[in-house]
Symmetry: D2
Subunit: 143 residues, 4 copies
């Protein structure tokens, strides 16, 4: 079971993560170590060629893993991204983006997760990312 | 010598890259395969803890390599990011972010660049990224 | 169904991939786009602390994705690794290593796969990798 | 100035890193946070097409960053690779491989370095890697 609710995460996002909020990013499902996050379509995310921009997908992947970490640790605002690796797999046509993220490790110092991103209503993946988060020392001692 | 000017890149950014424009990203130096790009500070980029968010640095790194590719190919709007890997090295205190990007390969199908990011006026790096761009086939044939 | 058999891959490995052969790497399962590969334990793979070395896992991940590409393309020796990203998740105690690899994209120019590695008999992952392979142009045209 | 000598590193490699030793990997220059490492050519490193294999370059990159960490920390055998990202830039024709590695961060918990690899006598890079190392807690407290 998630240690954070959708309402708590929404409030955290509005108050402390204005960049994600401005990107229209919002979680839809929070299970323990596994989440679904959506980025609502905005035309400002288009790039030349009329497809969705890479940086939006990076922001979405980063947020999705952060949310997945919070489902296990609770409201630990200070977990920070340590690294992110993303491969773009196909052009993302205009639409909402859906990220499915899973934690693959939650250690004392580091969390690692993977994310698959697709356009809502389309089966093919448009990006795959792996992201590591650094866990604050004071929290780490309680895991 | 760069095959694109600062004015041309600014115009492209305003018209075709609204996400980068909204992030306050703007190139300051364009040499052949080597560029400097700045992201003007906005409070919306802060994350919990009062430091600059990772996704802003990802967007900046991605843009900087794109600009570096254009310095060699000219106005090839359709080059698309193929992958990005970023490591965060230190907390980024509020301020403008400066990215220094260098192409390390420009092949027929793929360009690879590396980016160092620091906060304006601070010597330490806050992030290091490597990014690959896919070159359109029709352009590739002319390289 | 795989377009290459275990015997064909074994022969290719012995004749053309002596490094993988010397590492004791051998496929155990070849399905279309999905493979299982084992690296037989050798004491030369230990590193300080008595755990299995990272480079062995990198070699195993690289081989596993190569094998997964061949299950779809057949005996295309010339597919070459374009990039690899690996995160180490836990210490790998002495034993055989098992890699489970899945293709997540097979495009005309690029294949992308992900790999999970664990020690035989242990449930926890010790490494997760994402790897991209470049597809030769002459083959690409037939996909 | 390096906190480890070439002789000390050679001895560590022979005794504790047999995989690197078997790959013919040996440091040639150790400065503080900056090293040059060579992998002596062996025909077993060839892959289909007659070029040098990716996994050899991964092993070389990993070793080079490890050596760079030791130049700053001294003989800390237990630093372990946390992640590695490598991009292959050009085919590596048969010959010795030379890696030039630089630490770009040495923190209390994590070291990050970048590596450029070329074939001896050839100017072009064949690979670029970024690698992170986890620093043991007991050492971290003394940095």
């Amino acid at each position: 079971m998630s240690r954070i609710t959708l309402d708590e995460l929404d409030q955290l996002t509005r108050e402390k993560l204005p960049f994600a909020a401005a990107c229209g990013i919002r979680a839809e499902r929070l299970d323990s170590g596994s989440v679904t996050v959506r980025a609502i379509y905005q035309s400002q995310f288009l790039r030349p060629g009329g497809t969705l921009s890479g940086p939006l997908m990076m922001a979405l992947a980063d947020y999705a893993i952060y949310a997945a970490v919070l489902t296990r640790l609770g409201l630990v605002e200070m977990a920070v991204t340590s690294s992110l690796n993303i491969n773009f797999l196909a052009k993302a046509m205009p639409g909402d983006l859906i990220a499915e993220a899973e934690l693959i490790k939650l250690g004392k110092r580091l969390a690692v997760g993977s994310v698959d991103i697709h356009v809502a209503g389309e089966p093919n993946l448009v990006a795959h990312a792996t992201c590591t988060y650094s866990i604050p020392s004071d929290i780490a001692d309680t895991i």
